[in-house]
Symmetry: C2
Subunit: 342 residues, 2 copies
DNA sequence: ATGAAAGCGCTAACAT
DNA sequence: ATGTTAGCGCTTTCAT
């Protein structure tokens, strides 16, 4: 079923029908004809062929979300939320995972460029500034970074206020009388990781002689090797009585180690981590978290993209949003009051 | 950059170039011309316009995965695994969530049919037989059901062996000397839920006077109301000393209740659930699970679809796979030996 | 108020 | 071995 078929059936030209379908009939086509066409379309359930539309217009009403890992609860929660919002405006979202692998990310971008998607939401892998700059220069799609950004580039982004969030999390442990607080993060140039590390340091600077950080490479976040390195770190610094984990993955692997060591949380070691998950709520003891505002992040992402898509300016103002995190205090960081709970 | 541009630049007809791009040049085009064209394409980085290809061929090399909820770890793990496999064959996967909402599922199908996707992987909501039957009759796309199926329909599916898995899980609790074993499932007609319930009953029939089941509506799986209903159920049956949870969501909500009630697991109540998650491994005590073979399921799904896509037969044999689950025994179900662990 | 026709980029049947 | 051409379904400019 195509416009042509309708045209033949109704004895009305293709042009007229196209105008009606695209709501551009106002003042040009008689109401009588409009009704006739709309009724017929309704009746036979005609739907325009989107490939033909895309071929003709170059627009797909599609947004690609290139997450670091779509099976990570944080990213999949964002994805689901965005899907919901974008859907209302007739936009569809395609997801994929870069695995923080540059080559893979480049392939995916190329693949989706062939498909003429309208916008990219990207959590870039490392060493990706150049490609982002390229994409922005090309101006073929709206480019929005998420979770991490590049200071040097004047680009669109939606990120957490990582610096202040890490500071807040660390201060929470300080207030709970932790004496020696360690930071377990990612060995990475990602802005989010650098900012979280800096936030921790800024909170700790007047509190203990020096910061104590363990930075793990990305590939060891979930691995046995990661657990071993963390274990070694704990042995080397036996006085640690508080830990800030920079990601939920690091925390989960870390908690496994603490479980094996029979460390009492929070009595011996208080714990707080980024990214809330039901796992942390259910854990014994329940884990305090610095939660990212998933619905707000998703809303800003879509809002920003739709805004930029609509603004036809050559060089629109970059859309830059930094959203605050939320401290959720549970049992794992309540060292001072932990004896009261018994 | 289009074929036309290349044609002009190289003085070679677009037909010849098209054949070369599509690897149909064998024996028709001279090696010399092939090299010339391939080199040029390589050099300028030409990529064919996929909308034009789709418009012409009706094929998109795209598979849609309509999960119940793409933010559920089980479904997102499947999604990621499939993406990996399909990618190698040049196929892309688009994900979406039905939320077990029939209306939403219908809209999504319609939306993706407009985009001429090649195949649908569907975890159907309830009351969806008719639509599945329609889709199969239309023969526009390959239709593959996942996680649940319809007995009456002769369709493609990849599912877990739910019956025997539930039986195995229940037998595990029987062997651990549980006297009164309850089943907490979904109040649903989904084949997976019916089969799990039946598997539980078949294992229990010679063990206790009668089965003890709590069936919750889908909307209360994660809700406070769900917790309340589960709590009431426990109060009404104080002798329960073993529980089989039919989904990870039910188990998580159930564990929250057991935690509040200070029930000792497994001493007072042994617990086992479907669907493994890192949460269960980390839980105190670690939770025994009946794990679904995610990589195998994903592999079968893609393998089946590519097979059906290639077989050009009008009515190919339906692709039907039932994969076994894997029992992973952790602390939460080891009632007999639980005193040894102390 | 309506329609004719060009053309988006590609594939493939049909020439040559 | 290579080229000409029709047409996939649609949007939109330019007639009428």
């Amino acid at each position: 079923m195509s416009i042509k078929d309708i045209s033949k059936e109704l004895g009305i030209s293709i042009t007229t029908i196209s105008f009606i379908i695209n709501k551009k009939a106002k003042g040009r086509i008689s109401q009588e004809v409009i009704n006739k066409v709309e009724d017929y379309i309704e009746k036979v359930g005609y739907r325009p062929n989107s490939s033909a539309q895309t071929l003709r217009t170059g627009k797909t009403k599609t947004i690609v979300f290139m997450a670091e890992d779509i099976s990570d609860p944080f990213f999949s929660a964002i994805a689901k939320e965005m899907e919901e919002i974008a859907y209302k405006d007739g936009y569809k979202i395609i997801y994929c995972s870069t695995e923080n692998n540059k080559k893979r990310a480049l392939e995916l971008i190329s693949l989706f460029q062939d498909r003429q998607v309208d916008a990219f939401i990207i959590t870039p892998p490392e060493d990706f500034q150049e490609k982002i700059q390229d994409l922005i220069s090309q101006q073929s799609e709206v480019i929005m970074l998420f979770d991490r950004r590049f200071e040097e580039l004047n680009h669109n982004y939606v990120v957490l206020d990582n610096y202040n969030s890490a500071k807040t999390a660390t201060e929470n442990l300080i207030n709970e009388d932790c004496q020696e607080i360690a930071y377990v993060g990612l060995d990475s140039d990602f802005s989010c990781m650098v900012e979280r590390s800096d936030g921790y340091k800024s909170a700790i600077v007047h509190h203990q002689s020096k910061p104590l950080s363990l930075l793990l490479p990305f590939k060891h976040v979930k691995s046995a090797m990661g657990r071993k390195l963390f274990n070694n770190f704990l042995q080397a610094h036996p006085k640690i009585d508080g830990i800030v984990f920079a990601t939920n993955g690091l925390a989960i692997n870390g908690l496994k180690v603490l479980k094996v060591l029979h460390k009492k949380i929070p009595e011996e070691i208080a714990v707080i981590t980024f990214d809330d998950r039901d796992l942390f709520e259910l854990h014994s003891p329940a884990v305090s978290v610095l939660s990212q505002p998933v619905p707000d992040l998703a809303t800003e992402l879509i809002k920003g993209i739709l805004h930029l898509l609509k603004s036809k300016k050559e060089n629109p103002e970059p859309y830059q949003k930094i959203l605050p995190g939320r401290l959720i205090i549970r049992e794992s960081s309540q060292k001072r009051s932990s004896h009261l709970r018994k």
